[in-house]
Subunit: 136 residues, 2 copies
DNA sequence: GGATAACATATTAAATTAGTATGAATTGGC
DNA sequence: GCCAATTCATACTAATTTAATATGTTATCC
């Protein structure tokens, strides 16, 4: 039950964009210099962020990334989902999507796990990038 | 950001106690037979649950475990904490307890991580064993 | 005294996560 | 046109964590 470093790195990187990419794109290199993050790892994260429509990119020299959405339209949940797939999915020992059976038996806990999952998703979705930046 | 199997197993095992250990102790063997869980693994979990005062034990033949507290005094947080130490602690890349520095730099995110941590702890503490049993 | 069951610890195995390596494709500036 | 900077893509390795097993000892009931 932890925030993964993937999520942490993504949040930190997106915060850099939020602060510096309004007019010009910012390169991963610059981001990683500022935040002391591993470049190649963060590259991977950014590809996922792009696939999920959170950032847009400009190729080639002087290229880089910019936010694709307004800060208040990017939630912590969006980030986690993009970067850390099934970030809150594998309850009930991950046996079925519907959580009706666990370990081959009808599972009485699906209700509980689903409620928790729901709560967490809503909570993380309520935290937006502009709020995160405001807390810095 | 998932419920560990440790927590899942512990919840399932404690539910068994909640339902069956009111008068007599219940053995780990019986619990694991019912819930199809690995005995030796669950043994370890129960030792931690005992250390944390959630269950009490009776040695020897006909022995086993019983809840040490009322069901409404055992929260999901208590269980997670007992069985899954630092279940929600390693934010901020786990570098310092206070989350004031990250990777050697003053960390602007400590506020965020701590708020999240706080929220999660309160949430999990609000879910009590009697409610879990009621949802079955 | 034998069966049952908690208690304790060490070890192995599996899975996940983090990070590196290598290289191709794209673009700006000289 | 070429070179540097940069995104894009994938494969691989290393580290860490988590799950589970193995091997016992100790206590208690019958």
């Amino acid at each position: 039950m932890n925030i993964s470093t993937k999520t942490e790195y993504a949040v930190r990187a997106l915060t850099e964009l939020a602060l510096n990419s309004a007019d010009k794109p910012v390169s991963i290199n610059d981001i990683c210099k500022n935040q002391k993050l591993p470049v190649k790892y963060v590259e991977q994260l950014f590809r996922k962020l792009k696939q999920n429509g959170l950032v847009k990119s400009i190729h080639g020299a002087k290229g880089g990334y910019q936010l694709a959405l307004e800060m208040y339209d990017i939630s912590l949940k969006d980030i986690m989902e993009a970067v850390d797939e099934n970030y809150v999915a594998s309850f009930c020992n991950g046996n079925t999507k519907e959580h009706i059976y666990c370990l081959g038996l009808p599972c009485g806990f699906s209700k509980l796990w689903n409620e928790i999952k729901d709560h967490l998703e809503k909570y993380f979705d309520s935290i937006k990038l502009d709020q995160i930046v405001a807390k810095l």
